[in-house]
Amino acid sequence: MGSVRWRKVLRDVTAYRARTVAVVGSIAIGVFAIGTITGASALLGAGLDQAYAAGRPAAVTLYTATGFDRELVDAVERMPGVEVAQGRRSVVAWLDPFPDDPVRRGGTREVQLIALPDFEDQEIDRVLPRTGQFPPGRGEIVFERSALRLVDIGEGGEVMVRTADGREHRLRAAGLAYEPGASPAYYFGRLNAYVTFETLGDLGWPDSYNELRVRVTDEVTDPAQIQQIADDVRQRIERAGTPVTFAVVPSPGKHPAQEIVTAVFLVLGAIGFLSLFVAGFLIVNTINVLMAQHIRQIGVMKVIGGRTRQIFGMYLTLILLYAVLALLIAIPFAALAAIGLATVAAGLLNVDVSGVIVPPEIVALEVAAGLAMPLLAALIPIQRGVRITVHAAITDTGIDERFGRGLVDRLLARLQGLSRPMLLSIRSTFRRKARLALTLAALTLGGAVFMTIFTVRGSLFATLDDTARYFNYDVQVQLSEPARATTVTNEVLRVPGTVAAEPWRFASALRIRPDATESASLVVFGLPAEAETVAPVIQEGRWLLPGEGNALVATSNIRRDEPDLDVGDEVVLRIAGKNSTWMLVGIVQSPTFAPFLYVDTETLGRVTGGMDRAGMVMVRTGSHDGPAQAEAARAIREHLESTGIGVAATTTTSDVMGTIYTVFDTLVIIVSLMAVLLGVVGGLGLAGTMTMNVVERSREIGVIRAIGATDGAVLRIFVGEGIVIGLLAWLLGGALSLPLSKVLSDALGEVFVQRPLAFSPSLVGLGLWLVIVIILAVVGTLTPAHRASRIAVREVLGYE
């Protein structure tokens, strides 16, 4: 920067620190938002890919009702398209993690015990060692690491495992392992743990498999081909006399969480983009301030021979310097935040963030956005500023005489009944309408996104509440094996605190489509037609009627895979190897990701064999809070076991909802932080506007002071103006947040529950933003207003 004019540019950066901080800060915030979101998305995406690759995931998983042996696994492995097959046994038991702790003893949790045939040589859905001893020896248990989020299990201690027959066994907690392909423990409130087949035998389970995991050869990539192999394998093992209860064929080639992660980051990305946009408004405003302050300097430079292009270059370089400074600040902070965000999200998904370096393409994106946005935003203000004629520049009086011509001005002029300073505040707000529009745009957008986030959060929770209402029970008791329905409900109702119990049954079904192809596995629930423990929201048709026979109701998300289904259609289902025909009478709102089918329990009994049987019992308790539900679940389990009815698992709605709330709250906190950043950008914008107003109206301030306005009066006029702008922005932002939050909650709803969320505008968000915007208005205006109040009359008479 040898030349004098570049020295001037450099000094404009260093001499006006407040302005530099405002511009650099707003660019940095925009870049930070974009960098954090894209960086976290990239890191998490890489983490998911790595987890997917490390886990060597199964293309097909089949769950069977009875055990099968190694021979059948070998037979499957020889089938065309199958690369490798593995048998496993997984069983559910009850775990007391602290049997020797006098305080914590007795706090049981469900644990899924998984036995692998060979822990050393794993080729499919691998379980990787983490800490402690691996593989577990006989009498030892190794927990999947996500268990630590639920229970603080110490290595080397003993845990108590209680089986369905009520017997208790002590196992040594040998270490922690990581299964990249497994759902994290807190998703279902159930811990995953690994034991050997010997240990499982000691606990009373047979030495056979009940899960078959299959990987297909590399050439098979088409989902339809994989489904065909799954069907072939299913038929093969059913031919061997092993009924398949359920089959899972996930989307090939990507981690199961990838879709949701992509969708969530798309929403976050949209917010990041909005913050960059808001920052752009701020740049326009600040550059306008700068040009207003420099108008005389520009005039003088032109007088002494400066050409428009030269001066344009100077100011553009100034913006570039601001941008570079902002990038220097934003890039490292965004990298840290991206790593932090990715780590938190990875923790929720039970994957590892791969590496701690943000990919170079993300840094390139930050640099591009950080340079392009301010240059684009500043282009017009600079061009307008430097194109001013010398005459206009050097005769600029600083008094805006344009007020009074438009309709708004004339209406405002009629405003009566307020104090003169208040009238001045209100009318002055509308003097520079373009600038007001820019400030309002920044504050409105910031506020709208802030309020949108609250509304989306409210809508998420309203949807979850709907889901909780849908499952109109407190405890779901899954029996080890079907039991007599009347006996089990009577026994459950004997437990103190229970008020209603309904026997349900469930089966795995395949839809046989009109073209004879099979659908993926579906869960069909058999329930009494007059069941009260489910409260479905009917979307089409109607609910089941008592004594109706083969009527069928499906949740709306059935259409994701079976789009041709309509009310009135005949539907062929293969249940327990037999085809039966049902009439689809209704479609209900889907409460969860997986589609459900509902039929009359007696009719299902006729198909599956065994009347008056229940596979599960839905229980309503007198008290609906979490501890009461947990206590009821424990009491029901103990009572049923004491009467010889084995309980495989119990689930309380509080547990299920609590887990979902935790996951959503993390999302909401992240998004709320973005909203706060947007608020800061909006506040900086307001401060910039007010600074410009003070600069431009210095002469006017002098006149007001000359006719007797005190420091306080000048301060009140400008702060009043800031509050008027803040209130306007609040009103506009509130209005804008309605459509914005509707679009966003619909989009998120499609991702999480395949339907729009229950739209629930947030009054809390509205109220909170009102408080924030007034604070921003006062704080943002105070400094320039204070400066205005300090301007001496003498100064403005000679003011340039």
Binding site: S3, G305, H391
Partner: protein, 240 residues
């Protein structure tokens, strides 16, 4: 063929639109100034002095009439042509100095050379030092303008106006914002410049300054009322 006057205005009219209709600031002004002349333009506030100066410097454009200054037809020139032309041909000194506050005294003087791409960096610095010596401001070269007095700032502004060695120096109330002692110092600088053969046009209320001019042009209501040698005119000139 006689040499063309450095300032040649013929029938210049300047109208400004106002809310109450058009206001004529200059009416049919014809004025020639020869190279090396020192001319004072005087008149009451609002009579059109500054407008006339703005015409001469190309800061503003006439509504009618012809004006050729330092060889350029100002009516035909673009803003950029005018900027370049001013940089090389006209030095302007304002009443309120108009120095760039973020540049030092010497850098303010170097800025016009920078815009004109004149000389190397070293030559510019040497030229600035020479000009500051001329206005007796060498000892303040590295200070920021804010750290200097009004009179000093005006002298810096004169040095800056001379940076590209323009044949024409134009000043608007150069002593209007200065105390009488400081004003006298500034007047001396202008007198020296005129003696050295530079064309100087100054708008002033200051009778003492006007008396330094070879010719005084009186403006009344946008018209040239009289043009007389300074000695005959300055003594009787009083402005309200």
């Amino acid at each position: 063929m006689p040499e063309r006057p450095i300032i040649d205005l013929r029938g210049v009219v300047k109208d400004y639109p106002t809310g109450a209709g058009s206001f004529r600031a200059l009416a049919d002004v014809t004025l020639q100034v020869e190279a090396g002349e020192m001319v004072a333009i005087v008149g009451k506030s609002g009579c059109g002095k500054s407008t006339l100066l703005n015409m001469i410097t190309g800061i503003d454009r006439p509504t009618e009439g012809d004006l050729i200054v330092a060889g350029l037809d100002l009516r035909q020139a673009s803003e950029n042509d005018l900027a370049r032309w001013r940089g090389q041909n006209v030095g302007i000194v304002f009443q309120f100095f108009q120095l760039i506050p973020t540049l030092t005294v010497a850098e303010n003087v170097m800025l016009p050379m920078d815009f004109a791409g004149r000389g190397s960096s070293r030559e510019r610095r040497a030229r600035a030092a020479e000009l500051l010596e001329l206005v007796e401001m060498s000892d303040q070269a590295d200070k920021l303008p804010l750290a200097t007095s009004g009179g000093q700032q005006q002298r810096i502004a004169i040095a800056r106006a001379l940076a590209n060695d323009p044949p024409l120096l134009v000043t608007d109330e150069p002593t209007g914002n200065l105390d009488s002692a400081t004003a006298r110092q500034v007047i001396e600088v202008f007198a020296r410049l005129a003696d050295a053969g530079r064309t100087v046009v100054l708008v002033t209320h200051d009778a003492e300054l006007a008396a330094q001019a070879r010719r005084v042009v009186h403006i009344v209501d946008g018209r040239i009322a009289a043009a007389a040698p300074a000695a005959a005119s300055a003594g009787g000139y009083v402005d309200g």
